[in-house]
Amino acid sequence: MSAIDWDLVRSSLWPLGRELLRGTLPLTAVSFTLGLALAVLVALMRLSGNRLISAPARAYVSVIRGTPLLLQLFIIFFGLPSLGVTIDPWPSAIIGLSLNVGAYASEAVRGAILAVPRGQWEAAMTVGMGRVTTLRRVVLPQAARIAVPSLSNTLISLVKDTSLVAVVTVTELLRQAQIIAGQTFEYFTLYGVAAVYYWVVSLVLSFGQTRLETRLSRHVAA
């Protein structure tokens, strides 16, 4: 008996692919978008000279980076109901993943903002821009380019981290593979197909990263 059941591979391609499209990818897209917005906010808070603003941001990053994502999902879905807060599976998953992305990406965004030369701020101020306009028009566009490699890492990690939300009863790619494997006992085959799906997604994203880096580096000296 061979380790791989090719008929099962073919017949599970669509059930697994469907959960990739219905679960994994939307979870990734929504959590990354929300997480990135959070990351910019947190990065700006950490850069504030006001301790009342920077301290909560620092605490948030410390807690999220210092505890397992799996545990954070448990707390949101199973822990909060004891405090009277009940959140549905999908929102729980998105909150957990977004908070996670927000913490990790905020460090990348903060580093990128700090990497924009001081002279850019000064030039913007001397043509009359205030802090907000300078950030929006001058600093963040340049910081984005600097942050792309590290944000791409965060995104690719996120694709794989979505597999953890099976524990809060959200069905996505890995959960679906578990379900079919449980019925057929073909663990190697099903988990192998799931692994290939994850890998292909991260290949596509890596390719996108390279294209984006090239595009954003157009106007920058080598």
Partner: protein, 251 residues
Amino acid sequence: MSTPLLEARGLVKSFGANHVLRGIDVQVPAGSVTCLIGPSGSGKTTVLRSLNGLETPEAGTVRIGDVELDWAARPDARAVSRLRGQSGMVFQAHNLFPHLTVLDNVISGPVFAQGRPSAQAQEEARALLTRVGLADKADAYPVQLSGGQQQRVGIARALATKPQVVLFDEPTSALDPELVGEVLRVMQSLAADGWTMVVVTHELRFARQVADQVLFLDGGVVVEHGPPSEVLVEPREARTRQFLQRLLDPL
């Protein structure tokens, strides 16, 4: 004598124990060119950057037109930016925005900061680019230009907000020697057009030909000031003579 357009009095500033400005007075009449010269560490760049609040002096006043700031009263960011709005600045390292085209660099002040209509700002920006000899580079990005061209864009950007005074911080010091002339010629023609300019520079020939007054700074004080024919040709102070001698004959 009429009131000068720009007037700084008693500027004092220290970085830790290092007293960089020890009571500086500057008066700049409208339409005149003032050159600040002096050895490195003399405080000349700090003086210039105090005129638009990029540095924060501990004491002293700066007035441009009818906008006055008393540094000792710890002005808030809004007051500083009001003063800053009276001048434009050209940096040693040009500090162009690398992600914007030449044209967008020039309209960045008028459009992003002053909120003026883009079409009108573009028209004026193209006129300014023609003025600095770069009409054909409007759609280029800064990285595609030579150092001299980048600096001329920097000048156009500084003029675009229609400032009362243009501040130049060693505008040619970072340039290859053969590119210095094209920048100085643009500055010379601006002076001829009546722009009020304050220039920190090591270009003595420029100072002699274009400046209306020269201030020689050393150790955080104005050692000597007057028309270039006096300060640069027949300096009264030994320190000024020494400095000029070193510039003329570095060996």
